[in-house]
């Protein structure tokens, strides 16, 4: 192109009016090149060019050229619709590969248009005419993407336009099929809004996966689980189990663990039942395993985990291949039933328990005896703090104090045991035996503790209730005391989550129809739990009864129950949601909010968010508004960064209910993330003028900060101090005090080894956790429901397992400063007592000496353990020093200097060696690295959770860690458990289960 350019398109435009066609063509083709500069001039002549395009006599190519020119002019004028329609007229002259803004914009427009037409056509099921030219453009674009190697783009467009054929083509043609597939799975989860369509995509993906020479079974099984196809999973598992290679078997076990993580009980059970039994006589073994599924309670749970002797004996008689299969099958069934993981989690939580009894003690002392709300809050806090650790020291040490709990407080105190012993499947019954209703006839025990015990059994067996269902049913049927019915209903619902068991349903229904408020409420919730995510017809039955009954409690229970039934159904639930949200009764509308929350949980669906926001500001009932805001938390938990932004305005609402909802919404969706914006949003709310807003904010803050160390966010420490202050303050309102007590429980939940996690590592939602939190948020009306939060706890652990599902000694590295993720320091008694000062001084010097000695002989392997332990001691010493400084000025110098010296003497390591099983908090996961010369290699690269390890040196004897099963030690002081851990290498002795705690009787 020469330096000289024309200064006007006038000449060419004039040429358009020339009579000769060739001149017009000449002008058109030149104008096409100049249009980017001279579109304002050309725009006045658009009618002429349009008429050229419409001129039938004109040669086709020229007409297309004219159309392209008009399209460009319209593009510059911002009339994209006109521009697109002319571009379509331009046919092949519109070059999709051109790299200009015009082409990019129009392509985007074309794809949008096409996608919306396609989805409209598919959704309304009637034929919408799609311009074939539009389709052609999109297809050209797709082909171009595929040939250019931009597979992700092609997949994105294909998914958006619902062109599954093209999607398949893009995936199979891509150079890295595995990578593309996993990308596609991600995309389909985060961007495909319609559930049915997502199903189609996933079905396709599974099909593609299966065609691959070396399929990624982990991903396939995840897809199949989402599609709810147990048969497919069972087939894959069987294939892997039957394989010669041990690696395949390990993979199968890993798959099983991953599936279990999603807590989809009904699905897992059907996978398990579909795994074919081995032929020949080894059938006996399998049957023995299968009896676990039978409703009658049996002890084979123990056998299958621990007892290996029967297997070899049977193996001798069968053909070896089948024998191996049988043995593997036994393992996998154990995993699928959830028992293996529960057992290992229990052991982990027990052995790593770091809960701080002093905090509880402080709470207990500061709470007024007569204030029953705070009294039971303390009991709740204790239960949450020790959730799943089986450590009930605090209760046993304070029997007198505990006995002040009466009536419903007694109910929840007893139920608290269930939280503490959560997952203690084998001994659950015997643990609770003293409180359970005796022989149906209702013995001498208080109905409150009996009801509580039944609820506790449900909590222990939550989502794995095969062994306990029958017992709970019997108890339910044999009583007509509403408190016991209440407990039994909750227990049944918990243990049979999502199983949709008809018999249980009928039992509960008969309780509901007694129309007793207390029992009916529990029955409503329980029905929901039972039918989670099934979207059955029964929901309308429940809704009808909710209209019939007079009791608000029952309506509320039913409303929540109905909401639970539509869990995860997305659009499928729309009719029901519509019906509920338009109801006259605010309680049903309130249920409608939960239905919205649960049906769209974790989808971040815009429609649902819009609807919720609408209700949050427009409903007349405070309850509905509060719940609408709260429900946002559920919808958004897959995208926690969004939530604080969306609810930030609501958190400044004049209406305290809305503020409360905003606090909990942030708490729910950002749980365990320690997200800075979330904390900033909650901080002002913790000192709100209204007491219940403070309560909600404190609880939400605790949920957000669980497992976040002070080193990574200093506000955690400030929050802990704030809690302490509120608890100690005599004049604080009961409501916020209760919030503070619960918050301290949640903050240190599960012996400081669990977090609240609503998504599994594969980004699927964890059903139990989500509904646990949903029911938990009901504590506004009914405190005992607080315990449902324990369902949302998942251990922050890396548990490596070998082929025998034992925990071998395996070391790996956390490439970050240990202090970043360490346990919070144990609190110390802040006392004015001088006697306490003396041991302090001794302790700090001795530690210093010890540290110096250790440093010389420091070894990589034990660095973690020793430094961790001594640091906690030393730092407790320094804390003590500080504590006493504040109290007594004269002691300051000595202690102060000694601590400074101490800190200077020990520079912090940049990394930390962790020993299997180890505590790995979520924030730490990205720092986890494997040691290079390690004996074991994980089957799947995962920084936490259950990971199967491949043994590279099979013939060496294995050293096992985590051998100490929970025993009823009298006082598992911090560190005591850790000291015993990892030393002995005996086989896992599950028979050393803890003794049931001694029964403590309430003085009634």
């Amino acid at each position: 192109m020469a330096a000289v350019m024309v200064s006007s398109a006038g000449g060419l435009l004039a040429m358009l009016n020339e009579p000769q066609a060739s001149l017009k063509h000449h002008a058109l083709s030149h104008l096409n090149n100049l249009v980017d500069r001279f579109w304002p001039e050309i725009s006045t002549s658009v009618p002429i060019i349009e008429s050229l395009y419409e001129d039938e006599e004109f040669d086709l190519h020229q007409r297309q050229l004219a159309a392209l020119l008009v399209s460009k002019v319209f593009y510059y004028l911002g009339e994209l619709n006109d521009s697109l329609s002319y571009a379509l007229g331009a046919g092949p002259s519109f070059d999709v590969s051109e790299d200009t803004d015009y082409v990019h914009t129009l392509l985007a427009k074309a794809i949008d248009e096409y996608a919306s037409l396609r989805s409209k056509a598919l959704e309304s099921n009637d034929m919408v005419d799609i311009d074939p030219r539009l389709e052609a453009i999109v297809e050209r674009m797709l082909e171009k993407c595929i040939t250019d190697g931009k597979y992700q783009q092609a997949m994105g467009i294909a998914i958006e336009c619902r062109r599954l054929d093209k999607l398949e083509e893009a995936i199979t043609k891509s150079d890295n099929v595995q990578g593309t597939l996993s990308y596609c799975i991600n995309v389909s989860h985060s961007f495909v809004n319609r559930r049915e369509y997502r199903h189609e995509v996933l079905t396709l993906l599974v099909k593609v996966y299966q065609k691959l020479p070396s399929p990624d079974y982990l991903s396939i099984c995840q897809c199949l689980m989402f599609l709810d196809e147990p048969q497919g999973v069972a087939t894959i598992l069987e294939k892997l189990l039957r394989s010669e290679s041990k690696d395949d078997a390990l993979l199968a076990l890993q798959i099983a663990f991953d599936l279990v993580e999603n807590e989809h009980q009904a699905f897992l059970l059907s996978v398990r039942d579909r795994l074919p039994a081995p032929k020949t006589r080894s059938v006996e073994v399998v049957q023995a395993v299968e009896t676990t599924t039978a409703p009658t309670e049996n002890p084979s749970g123990d056998v299958q985990m621990t007892d290996e002797t029967p297997a070899p004996t049977v193996v001798l008689e069968t053909d070896p291949v089948d024998a191996i299969y049988a043995e593997r099958l036994k393992k996998i069934k154990g995993i699928l039933s959830g028992e293996t993981s529960i057992q290992l989690t229990l052991q982990f939580l027990y052995s790593h328990n770091k809960s701080d009894l002093l905090i509880l003690k402080t709470i207990k002392q500061s709470v007024e005896m007569r204030n029953s709300v705070c009294h039971s809050a303390t009991i709740y806090a204790n239960a949450i703090m020790h959730a799943g650790t089986t450590v009930d020291t605090f209760l046993r040490e304070n029997l007198d104090w505990l006995s002040r709990a009466t009536n419903w407080a007694k109910f929840s105190a007893t139920a608290g045991l269930g939280v503490i012993h959560r997952g203690h499947l084998q001994q659950g019954r015997s643990l609770m035996a003293p409180y359970l209703p005796q022989g149906g006839a209702g013995g001498g025990g208080s109905p409150y503790s009996e009801g509580g015990a039944l609820y506790a059994l449900g909590l222990i067996h939550a989502n794995h209730g095969e062994g306990i269902k029958q017992f709970l049913r019997d108890s339910l049927r044999s009583t007509n005391v509403e408190v016991i019915q209440h407990g039994a209903c909750l227990g049944l619902g918990l243990s049979a989550i999502g199983t949709a068991d008809e018999e249980i349903y009928d039992d509960i229904k008969s309780v509901l129809y007694t129309d007793s408020a207390v029992a009916g409420e529990a029955a409503g919730i329980s029905m929901g739990l039972l039918l989670v995510g099934t979207a059955t017809e029964k929901a309308s039955e429940m809704l009808a009864y909710a209209h019939e009954t007079q009791h608000e409690k029952i309506i509320r229970g039913l409303a929540l129950g109905i909401a639970l039934t539509v869990y995860g159904r997305e659009e499928g639930a729309d009719t029901l949601i519509e019906q509920m949200t338009r109801d006259q009764d605010p309680i049903i509308r309130y249920g409608g909010m939960y239905a919205l929350a649960l049906a769209y949980s974790g989808t971040a669906n815009n429609k649902a968010i819009r609807q919720l926001l609408h209700f949050a500001v427009s409903d007349v009932s405070d309850d509905v508004r509060r719940t609408a805001v709260l429900a946002l938390g559920f919808v958004l938990y897959s995208d926690p960064e969004q939530t604080p932004r969306i609810v930030s305005l609501l958190s400044e609402s004049y209406n305290p209910h809305v503020r409360y909802g905003a606090a909990l919404a942030v708490g729910i969706s950002c749980a365990g993330t320690g997200l800075s914006e979330a904390i900033s949003l909650l901080e002002p709310l913790t000192s709100d003028v209204v007491d219940f807003v403070r309560q909600g904010a404190l609880i939400a803050m605790a949920m957000v900060m669980v497992q976040i160390s002070e080193a990574s966010d200093s506000r955690v420490g400030a929050f802990r101090r704030q809690l302490e202050k509120i608890i100690l303050d005599k004049h604080e309102d009961t409501m916020s005090k209760m919030g503070a007590i619960l918050a301290s429980g949640i903050l240190d939940a599960g012996g400081r080894n669990v977090t609240i996690r609503l998504l599994s590592k594969t980004k699927h939602d964890k059903v139990t956790a989500v509904i646990g939190l949903a029911v938990f948020s009901q504590f506004w009306y009914w405190y005992p429901l607080i315990y449902f939060i324990s369902l949302a706890f998942s251990p922050t652990a890396f548990i490596g397992l070998n082929y025998d599902l034992k925990v071998p000694k395996f070391e790996f590295m956390s490439h970050a400063k240990p202090s970043l993720f360490e346990y919070p320091k144990p609190t110390t008694v802040a006392t004015a007592n001088t006697a306490a000062k003396l041991p302090t001084a001794v302790l700090s010097t001795s530690v210093k000496a010890k540290a110096r000695a250790k440093k010389e002989a420091e070894q990589k392997a034990n660095a973690e353990k020793t430094s961790g332990a001594e640091k906690s001691v030393s730092e407790s010493a320094s804390e003590k020093g500080k504590g006493s400084t504040e109290k007594e000025g004269d002691a300051m110098q000595v202690d102060g200097t000694s601590t400074v010296e101490k800190k200077a003497a020990e520079p912090e390591a940049a990394f930390e060696i962790l020993v299997n099983p180890a505590r790995v908090v979520p924030a730490q996961e990205k720092y986890i690295k494997l040691l290079e010369d390690s004996r074991y290699v994980p089957v799947k690269l995962a920084p936490s959770g259950f990971v199967l390890l491949k043994d590279l040196r099979e013939h060496e004897p294995e050293v096992l860690s985590l051998t100490d099963a929970p025993t009823s030690t009298t006082s598992p002081a911090a560190g005591a458990a850790a000291a015993t851990q990892g030393t002995t290498a005996s086989a896992m002795a599950v028979d050393d289960e803890p003794q049931p705690p001694q029964a403590f009787e309430y003085a009634s």
Binding site: M1, V4, S7, G10, L23, H30
Partner: protein
């Protein structure tokens, strides 16, 4: 020499010959063939490629278009004039520093100005004027057009008409005739507004006709709505008194009052 160029030159020679012969229909045929041939040259606008014959081709093309413009005047085809002029313009504007200026340039520019004046496109006239340099403005052709416009605006119509004699080129005459008609239209428009009726002789004088017949013919052709009776031209008929819209004041007042009353009631 490039065969294409030779062909164009030959055709152009024939065109010129026909032009001199005043055989305008042959000219038009040849011209359209020439235009098509010109599109083959890449050195011409809008591409301006630097081909070896660029200067020659440009000059030739400019020549052709200049002739085309003049031809359109001769054939009294204003549309063709406009088309050809616009196609010629890049040669004047954009190719200014590649070609020696054309001797015809000012003449053609002046013609264009005149055309705009005739078509009463005063805005475009001034736009064109702004684009000219001050030196060009002194050129008699341009100056002529500018002066005409001034007289036209002032309403010194007699000066416009007398300017016909001072036209710098024979081609201008065509536009000058057209201009006279434009002026007559202006005057007619004014008198229509100014008078209810005028006598025929006055009208003839005003509209610059030499005879009453001419005037009557003009009235018949252009202003059918005028009435000629009893020695007068009556414009009255044209003046349709637009009925002035009455403001429904009473209704409005009532409405406003009732709003005020109701507002008071609400508060």
């Amino acid at each position: 020499m490039d065969p294409q160029l030779t062909e164009v030159s030959q055709q152009f020679e024939r065109f010129k010959a026909a032009f001199v012969r005043k055989d305008y229909s042959t000219c038009s045929d040849l011209l359209s063939r020439l235009k098509v041939l010109l599109t083959k040259f890449t050195s011409l606008p809008p591409l301006f490629e630097n081909t070896p014959n660029a200067a020659h081709e440009l000059t030739l093309a400019r020549d052709i278009y200049e002739h085309a413009v003049v031809l359109s005047v001769k054939t009294e085809d204003q549309d063709a004039f406009e088309r050809d002029f616009f196609q010629l313009k890049p040669y004047y504007v954009d190719a200014r520093n590649r070609l020696p200026p054309s001797p015809q340039e000012n003449l053609i520019l002046g013609l264009n100005l005149l055309r705009l004046l005739v078509q009463n496109r005063i805005a475009e006239f001034h736009t064109e004027l702004e684009l000219l340099s001050s030196a060009t403005l002194d050129n008699p052709c341009i100056k002529h057009a500018v002066e005409l416009e001034q007289s036209f605006m002032e309403g010194a119509y007699n000066r416009v008409l007398s300017a016909r004699q001072t036209a710098p080129d024979a081609t201008y005459v065509y536009f000058m005739d057209l201009l006279a008609k434009t002026i007559r239209d202006e005057i007619a428009g004014c008198s229509e507004k100014a008078y209810d009726y005028v006598s025929i002789s006055d009208a003839r004088q005003m509209l610059l006709f030499s005879s009453d017949q001419e005037l009557l013919a003009y009235v018949n052709e252009e202003h059918r709505e005028w009435e000629v009776k009893e020695g007068f031209v009556v414009f009255q008929k044209a003046k349709e008194t637009a009925p002035c819209k009455e403001i429904p004041s009473l209704q409005l007042i009532n409405q406003t009052l009732s709003y005020a009353r109701e507002l008071e009631r609400i508060v």
